[in-house]
Subunit: 287 residues, 6 copies
């Protein structure tokens, strides 16, 4: 099966995710062909911008890219799963219309007749056309945010926190697209029973690895009298595992919980009588 | 609650410790205000030398700094906990009087009338005064260890291993202060029920994270006949967890022990009949 | 006990392995004497090429080096264990005869009368002699792969993937030696009861640490009706640990399995009814 | 006057050239507006690909870019000067058609009906059309040289030495464009007396700085009898400067010559009787 | 002679200046004693803050430090020369009173009763006292600019461009001290004939090296008829050197001029008839 | 002509020297074939240790290497010139016999029957044999200085400053070889008129470039009355160049002098009446 991996800003976090999912991948120097230890997978590094097109044509069976570039290419592919990870954080990114802080453009209605610079030309054109706005949308080779006001009246640009826009004295007019990473598949490949099964298994493992980043395991010793109280405190994925201790009248509880809640729960567990509380890390969590 | 974090040599290890304790902290570039994902905590990076003063005045509710700087500032604060971690190792540091290897100064009695360079001016003055020694203690802006013999007769300087002193041909005359990191609180903040509870919970998690660095989890399969012998070998924090195996006559033991003892215990356990011995890492250990 | 560690390309991975095995080792700057926190071990960094000779002579009691250099030196030592790790991967390396792509040399028979450059002079000479081939084997100071065709007719060179050979337009004629890392001991030291025990314990821990790189722990919740089916899917080292859940009719299974198989087994377990599947990492695995 | 400087691979060498020409330029961090110490110049960093279009439209009065991108954009601008410098060397670069080493494509005639990937889409299309060849020319986002054979049949790509093409097993079919850096001006700006004078002065200094990279100063002592012979050897820009030495019968010659010829001329001068030959570096040379 | 060099931010530029002046200096690793190839100079790296005190006491004969720290220490030393260089630029630095942008403090009169944080405690106290203002001046260990408004009401801080103040939302109230680097000498050393001569020679070379950074040499060929016109254009330090060319009726002019004026003068010289204009760099310029 | 350049520690300084001599050399990545802009030179990077052998055999016509390796290989080559440059300084290096500080070996006479580790096996053997000393000289793969006392009784090792020996607690017993870089030629190549001329020209340029590192040019304005006094102060290579100034009664002197003497001469010149003293750098100086 031919799998496309996004070259560039998502590359490292994607390879890390696959590795956590259980694949051993070697990337030799500047090679564009990461080698998986699964002989059924032939992988290739391809720019996220070009991924969907190659998947649509069947040159690749499946791949990872952003929803933005799927839409930009207008590619007819099967979206198998949303995977919430990005270069740095885990949040979706946004494509916004931005203008200079002191521009007269207040809403996207005001874009009529203006010059707009963006890397996302096709989507932007379709979006504006659908709203009945006629503007001059030009392809930008990068550094888009420095173009207004001289080189463009407005831009359509990707932003995570808005910091780069503010640094260039730009104001957001409207968000026109939210995007996150997607696992996409060629439609014929998806129809093929073996390939579909293969893709679904990979996606299950990738999701398990992602989920594990937000979970931890927690074990503790609990005296019989506190057992009920403590069970009530624990928001386990499933009900917790209970083992006996050699010390009579004591139990061992083992649960998986949200890493974020640990710092609030531990003081409560301690107060409720738990001792020997131990937190450990997880590689994968599959519900 | 306003929390002071030590800027400088302790900064990275302090942030790492808080992260391990369960806080997600973002430090943007050169900002002095790390942002916690807990909205109840407002943190600020402050030089360890100045921390105790600001905590005493209530500008901060609590903070982390060395015992040395609490004493140097003569600050009236509540010492909540000792946290044994430092820039590199986990050991306390020492402030020592040091002189050139061939100096005639043999004991601190010989410091009378001499010039002493140090960053710890107030404490050194008080210490010598208490011993009835009159010397000229001057503030040093750094690089103190290269000052003797031309620029000073003796120095009072921080040392972990003594290596830097030896490299500058200095001999230690006396240790005048041992210091380690402390979690300190403003006395009014400590009297406030909510703040005190908050501080105690943070300290519990920090201690749990520190303790985990020296512990590991150990699991093994034990045949019934060896159970007693093996239980005798295990210095668990609490008594071990025992589960049954599907294989009749076998048990699974799960304990938390000192990482340092593992390499000695494993060969003994193996000899005593344990099989399938597995060691795993821990994030937090709270007794 | 005097222990030799391989300096150079294997150095970092060897120290890492010992650390994982439970030893705290400090290497100060460019020192050749890593300090273990075990006072019974005196270690020294020595080039892998020279290790076997020093162990044979008893200057070292034991050490780690490649089988290739044991053979090159023709050293009479006790091979205690094979440890499958290398600079990068976990695979054995190969010494091959290589010639320019367009050379007339097709088999090693054609080497008669030719100039061969290599770092492995003795072994190569013995190998050729045994086959009745007379060639001029010259020692090469490095950069061997660029020598043909002007400076040599053929080379005998180490290769992991063949990439460097291809980059220099060389073709592999024959593999003459496969090699991997070995823990070797001096024969007298091995006969000494205390030293042998010490060596065996170290090797047990090193193997445990190596094994852990290929194993993970897996826990899951299993409904009573699926228990048998799922037990059948699990290739545990020993039979799995079974605990009860607070939820009646459910069990918790805990096993150690090959990390490589996880990605295949998880989909099957899920299908068979397991939920709450959790994978966690291991530091050591001792069977 | 608005001046465009090429962002990217030419950026550093361009700024260095302007500095050598006598301008003090500060570039603060990631700013796109280098500040000149000449208040009459407003500069801006712009991708070379986009420069000519902005100069044509008069958004910039003048700028530096490659001839390739002037042609790609089909921009109607005044070409003021050719400046022979590039990212690394001083040679023009070439755009070539390249195909896999074992491709059946031998001449560009064979491109009919094939897929061609390139960053230089417009020029390539025009070039092929003019030759009567119909091919499918697709825009490539980069890493063009790894696309054949799967993602494209041929590429049109920039090359200085051909090394990157060879490394990807590609063969050059034909050079379709040679290019070097040009100083271009907007036609209206050029018609403006003040701007034209300003541009001509800048170009004079840039050329003086470039010329100095290929020239050196050479001084020597010459005895009267050899004077004529030596003057005959010196290919000075103008006739050489002659001064008297305190030593009667000796002269001092001072000339500016091509740095490349120095290594050939010095042995001849020496042979002809010159002594005390001294070579010194030049910052600017203006004929 | 004992010479103090400023350790820290000025260190590299000071060593570079001495090297350009003609001294070969070796600084081995972290040593505080740079070794000059002049056996009459014993140098030592000392913090600029402490320099003047040690020079005053005669522990050093002379040294380089800022005027600010001479005044802060109230040291009675001989100021031999001002040397206009700094960490980055060649301009003096300023110590300013700064407050939060929205502070009610408008002039230094408003500082009465306020808390002021600064590294320059003594000078600030004296300055305010002289103006009849009573404020609480506290020593700051660094990161002073982030203290207002919580940790201080105002600061007295060093600034070159004001950028760091603006980045922390601070407003400059008043400049209280301008400072630049000074070469200072102990008064007794200055009275010593040999030491004074030595110091004056060093200062002459340092100034010659500094001056050379702003000058270049310019040579050109001039026809007799233009000689007067061109001499009128040249603002030489002294009158220019004139040599004859082998070409009758032509002269060679050689002058030293400000590097900044070159870009304006070259076009004028060219227009006036000069040819073969050549600019070359200088190491030292001593008037 | 085939020219060998030393790969490794001398590589960068050798290429720099050739560049200063007037050759443009490009080294692409990890290539072993630096390309000269002189088509008559084919260069190759070869380990200094192996150079002399290849030159002797005529595989190379000439090359640069140390005298030590010429002697070690016992190569019959023509030594054309000594070039005093090294990795860092300009001084010759020494091969010394070194032993542990507390060794009983006091003179090389005491080496009889001892084990000596060295990279310079052949030369050492010959040297000892000539003195009638029988010792066991073993080849060392590097890190020789850490071998005594366990792995060797003494070593023969290269040293520049002795620092590395002291750091390993070794004492120098005797220097057995002083070495510096040599330009060597194959004897047949040397007999060839064209090759010999080529080599001599290259050597002249290399020497000119080396000499320039220790010389500077000095110009000054001198009033007629001081001329004689000042000429007496100047140790020019040849007598100085004198030109007239437009100012009557003044002369311009231009000389080349040792850079080391400049800092002493400038104050004297100034005192003697010279003004407008200017120092400038030189690329090559050929006497």
């Amino acid at each position: 099966m031919k799998l496309g991996l996004p070259k560039g800003s998502l590359q490292e976090s994607t390879l890390k995710l696959f590795r956590k999912a259980g694949y051993h991948i070697s990337v030799s120097g500047r090679s564009y062909y990461p080698v998986f230890d699964d002989p059924e997978i032939d992988s290739m590094l391809i720019r996220a911008q070009e991924m969907a097109g190659y998947v649509e044509k069947g040159i690749l069976d499946c791949g990872l890219t952003g929803r933005d570039w799927v839409l930009e290419q207008g590619a007819d592919v099967r979206e198998v799963a949303e995977l919430l990870y990005a270069k740095e954080g885990l949040n979706p990114v946004r494509w916004v219309v931005a203008v200079p802080v002191d521009s007269k453009i207040k809403t996207i209605r005001d874009l009529g007749g203006k010059r707009i610079a963006t890397e996302l030309v096709s989507f932007t054109k379709r979006y504006l056309r659908a709203k009945g706005i006629r503007a001059d949308v030009e392809f930008s080779w990068g550094a888009t945010e420095i173009k207004p006001p001289y080189l463009a009246d407005a831009i359509v640009e990707l932003t995570e926190t808005g910091a780069s826009l503010r640094a260039n004295n730009l104001r957001i007019v409207e968000t026109i697209l939210e995007s996150s990473t997607r696992f996409i598949a060629n439609k014929k490949a998806w129809a093929n029973r073996w390939k579909r099964q293969k893709i679904e298994n990979i996606v299950m493992l990738l999701k398990g690895a992602l989920a594990a980043e937000e979970k931890v395991g927690l074990k503790m010793n609990v005296p019989e009298k506190s057992l009920k109280l403590i069970l009530g405190l624990l928001p386990a994925m499933h009900s917790p595992t209970i083992s006996t201790l050699t010390d009579k009248g004591w139990f061992d509880l083992d649960v998986v919980i949200d890493e974020k809640t640990v710092r609030d729960i531990i003081p409560k567990l301690k107060k409720a009588g738990a001792t020997g509380i131990v937190e450990y890390q997880l590689n994968k969590v599959i519900p």
